[in-house]
């Protein structure tokens, strides 16, 4: 595997590995250091932080579903003041890049939190979580409307020169339109996808299983939806995409690269087995080597090879 180039460039950010740990699924990295070699991952995306501290949603916050997980954490976080004062300095100790994640309920707050967080050296880049389905309808509004997406991305772009990754929601009719709007508003990259909105009901107690009623579905169950979202977003933009949604193996990751992702994020799979990120990196290297390829860039977006005309029958298109 010597000489295998797994590095990626996301905006100004250069990472030795294409594997990000998805926001909200890996704490600040510290929680996993006993089980995983953080020097073998691309970056940790931190849990989203808001302007004010938030206690988060009532319990229960987690429901296992077939091949998936419903969560409604509700952005429990200490708020940006406390975060800057007590948490951020520790991130310098991580042997990998640390990407901040910003959530908010207004354009002003997105810009305010981003500006303060991005000013810190410990933060290598900013991911804009405009697609959290677990904080009432407001949380996701931004990623569900091309105009609002453009507005918030423009406001945030104005306050930082650091790499800006905009995280999109799959709960929309046309993700390509929103991806295009985010790009033209100044995003350096897109994270595709956040969780699918879902619900589970306790049929004994006659009430929703999550304290928040609804939640976000992640894990292998959503992988086909995520692969298609990446495929469609990639055809709409020319900035890099961080593919995510149900990645558990190198083979899953390759589906995202072939669909058009330049990097991937691993979320729920860390709850299955914390050794998965390192395993994926090793197997990606072996995959490239076995095919005589030198870089992951050689396969990004190549799912269409040989597919000029997908239909074999006459007259049936449409």
């Amino acid at each position: 595997m010597s000489g295998m180039d797994l590095s990626v460039k996301i905006g100004k950010l250069e990472l030795p590995y294409p594997t990000l740990m998805a926001s909200g699924c890996y704490g600040s990295g510290e929680e996993f250091e006993a089980f995983a070699d953080l020097s073998k991952i691309g970056a940790v995306v931190l849990k989203s932080v808001t302007r004010e501290p938030r206690l988060g949603n009532p319990m229960p916050r987690l429901v296992p579903t077939p091949a998936g997980l419903l969560n409604a954490i509700g952005l429990q976080n200490p708020g940006i003041d406390w975060y800057l004062e007590h948490e951020v300095a520790k991130f310098a100790q991580r042997p990998c890049a640390v990407i901040g994640s910003v959530a908010a309920f207004s354009v002003d707050d997105y810009a305010y939190v981003t500006q303060r967080l991005a000013a810190r050296d410990e933060i290598a880049a900013i991911e804009l979580n405009i697609s959290c389905p677990n904080v009432g309808s407001e949380g996701e509004t931004f990623a569900c409307d091309p105009a609002l997406t453009g507005k918030v991305v423009r406001a945030v772009r104005a306050v930082t020169g650091k790499t800006l990754i905009v995280k999109l929601s799959p709960n929309v009719t046309d993700i390509a339109a929103i991806a295009a709007e985010a790009e033209s508003a100044g995003a350096d990259a897109l994270a595709v996808i956040n969780t699918l909105r879902g619900m589970s009901i306790d049929v004994h107690a006659w009430k929703p299983r999550l304290g928040n009623l609804t939640g976000g579905l992640s894990g292998p169950a959503i992988r086909p939806v995520a692969v298609l979202a990446v495929y469609e977003a990639a055809r709409a933009v020319s900035i890099p995409i961080v593919g995510q949604g149900g990645i558990e193996t190198a083979s899953d990751a390759l589906e995202f690269f072939l669909a058009g992702a330049s990097a991937i994020a691993i979320g729920t799979a860390n709850f299955t087995d914390p050794r998965i990120p390192e395993k994926i990196v090793n197997e990606l290297g072996a995959y490239l080597e076995a095919r005589g390829l030198r870089s992951l860039r050689d396969i990004v977006g190549k799912a269409n090879v040989g597919f000029g005309t997908p239909f074999q029958y006459e007259g049936d298109v449409g």
């Binding site: 909200g24 699924c25 890996y26 704490g27 929680e31 996993f32 006993a34 089980f35 849990k47 004010e52 501290p53 938030r54 206690l55 988060g56 319990m59 229960p60 916050r61 987690l62 429901v63 296992p64 077939p66 091949a67 997980l69 969560n71 954490i73 429990q76 200490p78 708020g79 003041d81 406390w82 007590h86 894990g219 292998p220 558990e248 193996t249 729920t268 860390n270 709850f271 299955t272 087995d273 914390p274 050794r275």
Partner: protein, 268 residues
């Protein structure tokens, strides 16, 4: 400072179905045994992937063998129940803080159903150092009062209760606890939430401090996702430093700050 947890690949040594759907799975795991403290748990990595890991208490830990005792209640425990001697399994752990046994000399251990899995290790440690241990053990019926001999052999006195009266007291185990003579100086408990709440109530009535091993649905099990919180007195030594609180309480993670909490510090 707790010993550093890790991911261990273990091999299943033995598998016993103690009662319908109650599985005891022993495996060879000398490193895990070395560092395990009573009340800690592991995350059992699903052999087939595609699911979250399962939080399970470490039941036995002696020599080179540790074991898990679990109830088959869903997809993940069903998959673990398929394991046979010789099969491989990976465990992340030991995790969580475990019980604080202090200098207690007369301890009441309360277990409901598979809650028994969390209390063998503290019971053994207590009797070994000469403390009196009474096990108050409740279950649906006598079949599900599993593995009682192991506790008796470890020197525990057994007080049992069943919902249907097939063994011991006909009713709740906490009723026996409330009537116990020779007041204990510490209560340890693990079981379903209603039982733990009742235990907390009885403990308060008796004026005895109680430690409860809580169970919640976990995702990460290591403090990384904030999916498993319980409101904890912000003045508790276990309370996470967190600026937002609901009055005097703050959300603590069951997997990281717990799973064992002092009953009087919880709000529920």
């Amino acid at each position: 400072m707790l010993p550093r947890p890790s991911v261990s690949d273990v091999v299943v040594l033995d598998r016993t179905e103690l009662a319908r759907g109650v599985i005891l799975l022993g495996f060879h795991a000398p490193e895990l045994v070395d560092v395990t403290r009573p009340g800690q748990f592991v995350m059992a990595i699903p052999p087939g992937g595609e699911r979250a890991a399962t939080a399970l208490a470490i039941y036995e830990a002696q020599g080179e063998r540790a074991s898990l005792l679990f109830f088959v209640c869903g997809a993940r425990t069903r998959e673990l129940a398929e394991l046979r001697p010789g099969d491989k399994l990976s465990l992340t752990g030991p995790l969580g803080n475990g019980f604080d046994l202090g200098a207690a000399a007369n301890v009441a251990v309360v277990a409901g159903g598979v809650g028994i899995a969390s209390v063998l290790l503290p019971a053994q440690q207590l009797t070994q150092r000469g403390s009196r241990v009474r096990l108050f053990y409740g279950a649906r019926n006598v079949e599900f009062l599993v593995d009682r001999d192991r506790f008796a052999n470890a020197g525990c006195e057994l007080c049992c209760a069943t919902d249907d009266g097939t063994l011991g007291h006909h009713g709740f185990i906490t009723e026996l606890l409330a009537q116990a003579e020779d007041k204990p100086d510490l209560i340890l408990a693990c079981g379903p939430s209603p039982m733990l709440r009742a235990t907390a109530f009885v403990a308060a009535e008796l004026g005895v401090r109680a430690q409860l091993a809580l169970e919640e649905t976990f995702a990460c099990g290591v403090g990384g996702c904030w999916g498993c919180v319980v409101p904890l007195d912000r003045k508790s030594s276990q309370a996470p430093k967190f600026p937002k609180s609901a009055g005097d309480f703050v959300n603590a993670r069951v997997c990281k700050e717990g799973p064992v909490f002092w009953a009087h510090e919880l709000r529920w």
